[in-house]
């Protein structure tokens, strides 16, 4: 159990939320992998940094709703907002041959104001550069993929790449922070009127 201190050296970011679902006009029977990407000042303390959802299909009533309702729970600590965590998501589904292919990559920063937030993340796939690649890819059931989806969280080296945006993933977040104010950081006003205020007697439990 870590008691509140008057001169904290780190602040905490607690993320609760869910990957609600997706909107992909062209595709069905999709699952989503997620992971958090953060800078070297940051470390996860509790919760899960990555996971995979179930496979979901479009409902018979509403033809484009894909629902995962997948929980996100993670806490991070840092001494510095640089490298603020991002949620990276990648969505996969079957092609006509039944192979798993990527249907989109996307990323969004975890919000930093306490309160409730919704993010609609645009999803894109890398485009093959040659028409021949496109055709043989279709024939063989192969699409260009990133070897490590985490590259989606970085801005360097994107100049030469062509991508196709083709869907959205909706995520909702409930954000709580501890000791950001004590360390001198002003993040603006909380997003919802009912945002909880951290009291100086609040203690945080750290497991492992």
């Amino acid at each position: 159990v870590v008691m509140a201190t008057n001169n904290p050296s780190v602040f905490l970011l607690m993320v609760n939320g869910q990957i609600e679902g997706a909107n992909f006009p062209g595709y069905d029977n999709l699952y989503c992998k997620y992971c958090f990407v953060y800078g070297h000042d940051w470390a996860p303390t509790t919760g899960l940094e990555e996971g995979i959802t179930q496979i979901t299909s479009k409902s018979t009533q509403s033809s484009h709703k894909l629902i995962w309702n997948f929980p996100l729970e993670a806490t991070f600590k840092s001494a510095n907002p640089s490298g603020w965590p991002q949620l990276v998501v990648s969505v996969y589904g079957p092609d006509v041959f039944g192979n798993d292919v990527v249907r989109g990559y996307g990323a969004t920063h975890v919000p930093f104001t306490p309160g409730r937030h919704t993010r609609t993340i645009p999803m894109f796939v890398p485009e093959p550069t040659w028409r021949l690649q496109k055709f043989t890819g279709w024939l063989m059931g192969r699409r260009p993929e990133y070897t490590d989806p985490k590259v989606v969280a970085h801005g360097e080296g994107r100049e030469a790449t062509r991508v196709r945006s083709q869907g959205f993933v909706t995520v909702s977040f409930h954000i709580t922070t501890k000791d950001m104010k004590k360390m001198g950081y002003d993040v603006g006003s909380p997003s919802s009127a009912n945002a909880p205020s951290a009291t100086s007697n609040w203690s945080t439990e750290e497991q492992s």
């Binding site: 920063h109 104001t113 100049e159 062509r162 945006s165 993040v187």
Partner: protein, 175 residues
Amino acid sequence: MAELHIIGQIVGASGFPQNSLFCKWGIHTGGAWRLLSGLKEGQTQVDIPQTGDMAYWSHPIDLHYTTKGLQGWPKLHLQVWHQDSLGHSQLFGYGFCHVPSSPGQHHISCVTWRPLGSWQEQLTQMFVGGGPQLRNPDLIYSGADRYRLHTAAMGTVELELGVIMKHFDKHGVET
């Protein structure tokens, strides 16, 4: 010394004649500012949207500045380019906006414009493409010699700019 974190994304752009677009961007600050970490310029992917008018880049921005003064507050400047299927690029618009000076998460729609040439150049442009570009890109975010230009409105770039501030209040700055 006060510190400023800019954490967000260049989300995408819409309202341009074609939607196969990329963006070159940069952040300009005055002499009192020092960049501690992060990349202050870059170039997004080319997005060719499957449906709809909006091109999405989701280009992350994470910058950490210290500053000794308020002058030269950071400004983001943008160039939106169109790339065709053959890989040829054409300038579609310039725009700039200040990084917000209040902490919190801000959604900003940045308007853009392109320089117009003479009527002969505009006629040629209809057939051959291309078009005038600024010789000095400083003009994107400076007002000094703007009166020399004749420009036309172009589309809008959507930005999510989150601002975290530290010690500005200690120096009496009200945000």
